[in-house]
Symmetry: C3
Subunit: 176 residues, 3 copies
């Protein structure tokens, strides 16, 4: 198989200590299986909210594992231990503010505290990194909003050609 | 009384010279009295558009006065003397882009020049700092939009438990 | 004639090599002729996606040519050669995030890949610089959205008084 590699990175002090099950990371993996129709495998990690470790793990997933897409969950709020956006920004060459804007906008339809989320997205070489919220229901709302743009973004940075189950998510590629 | 402390900071060359009454700062204080139902006191200052002085005043209100929330008004436009967002960013460890996005979005319903506002919000230790526009009517629109998320944000950074007059603003706290 | 100077800067490797006609830059010039009713002249350049050259050209148009407004097209995506926002940020003293937010929001009505655009706007001394997308149809949607705020922004930074064909774009200036 010569498919894509997707990184799923759960960032949570408590989940990393085994204090609860990582429902969020598992939900993201399920979502990818439901939505992506081209072949792929998942690289999955659960780590605590330590900025240095988040950066190292993102770099490893991108540069060593060769993931074309990394989806993080957790650590995007205003609390002192929430450092996922900072780590993301540190390892990316380009930030894509439109992802955070749209994810906050759709999340605002659910809860007014969506504005507290600092989630963002960016490019490291040939890897698109997207920060997702912590809860499965919020993850779904955010992924449904941004995923139509993900395959074309991966095209533009030189990654594999991703296709989606069109009944679920219709990937958009502009005609040349 | 063991209530919260809120900083209200008017940033305006002309108001600080006494050339006109600071209607904006007063409006913010009235708004807080109308909307917040838990005990609080207000620390109020009017200063000119000097970046160094804005930074010092924000730091003083946060670190010395112990304000859990600072609301600024003025200095967020594109003119050379408008430096409030720069000062805010300099004293904050974390920025919360969702506040600026939502405030501009609701202000756009009023005036197309809302996109000229560079207002933002951020966290300095246990203090949430929010930049508001200069005019009372615009302040109201912005505070109505973001205030439902303010009490929970203050919870997350370790501040006092704020409650609101629910008929006016319904503070949202997610169930755990 | 003592009119305004507007810079139109097409940033495209292929257009700069003459591989295709620069329809985007021409479209922007047509748009300005259709919409702006006060006197102006256009300074027009087509250059490749080289960050250093983009910065030099923006600085030259602003500082030497005296343009009060520079509209760029191209180079705002996630691809490795897309560096227009970086160049814009480097030469500006103030960024205006509301422009990018609104342009992405209106472009999202057209295509879900609008979130991939990193377009922004900022101020260099007395010059407003706005990044536009690459395609004429997207340029129109973005300019229609932000242009009502452009003349007042130019007032605020000390530029010439711009008026518009009100049937086409209604410039907004708040009453004092």
């Amino acid at each position: 198989m010569d498919g894509a590699k997707f990184g799923v990175l759960t960032i949570s002090d408590r989940a990393s200590r085994g204090e609860y099950e990582d429902l969020s990371g598992r939900y993201i993996i399920e979502y990818l299986r439901e939505v992506v129709s081209s072949p792929f495998e998942v690289v999955y990690r659960v780590i605590p909210d330590e900025q240095g470790l988040i950066e190292e793990t993102l770099v490893h997933m991108a540069d060593v594992e060769g993931c074309c897409l990394i989806l993080t969950t957790g650590g995007t709020g205003p609390a002192p231990r929430d450092v996922t956006p900072e780590a993301t920004e540190r390892v990316c060459q380009k930030m894509l503010p439109g992802f955070g804007e749209l994810m906050r906008q759709v999340s605002l339809q659910q809860v007014p505290t969506a504005i507290l989320s600092r989630q963002t997205a960016g490019i490291r070489n040939k890897t698109l990194i997207i920060n997702l919220p912590g809860k499965p229901q919020s993850i779904k709302v955010c992924l449904d909003a941004v995923f139509p743009a993900v395959p074309y973004c991966i095209d533009l940075i030189g990654g594999p050609y991703i296709t989606t189950e069109e009944s679920r998510i219709k990937a958009f590629r502009p005609s040349k």
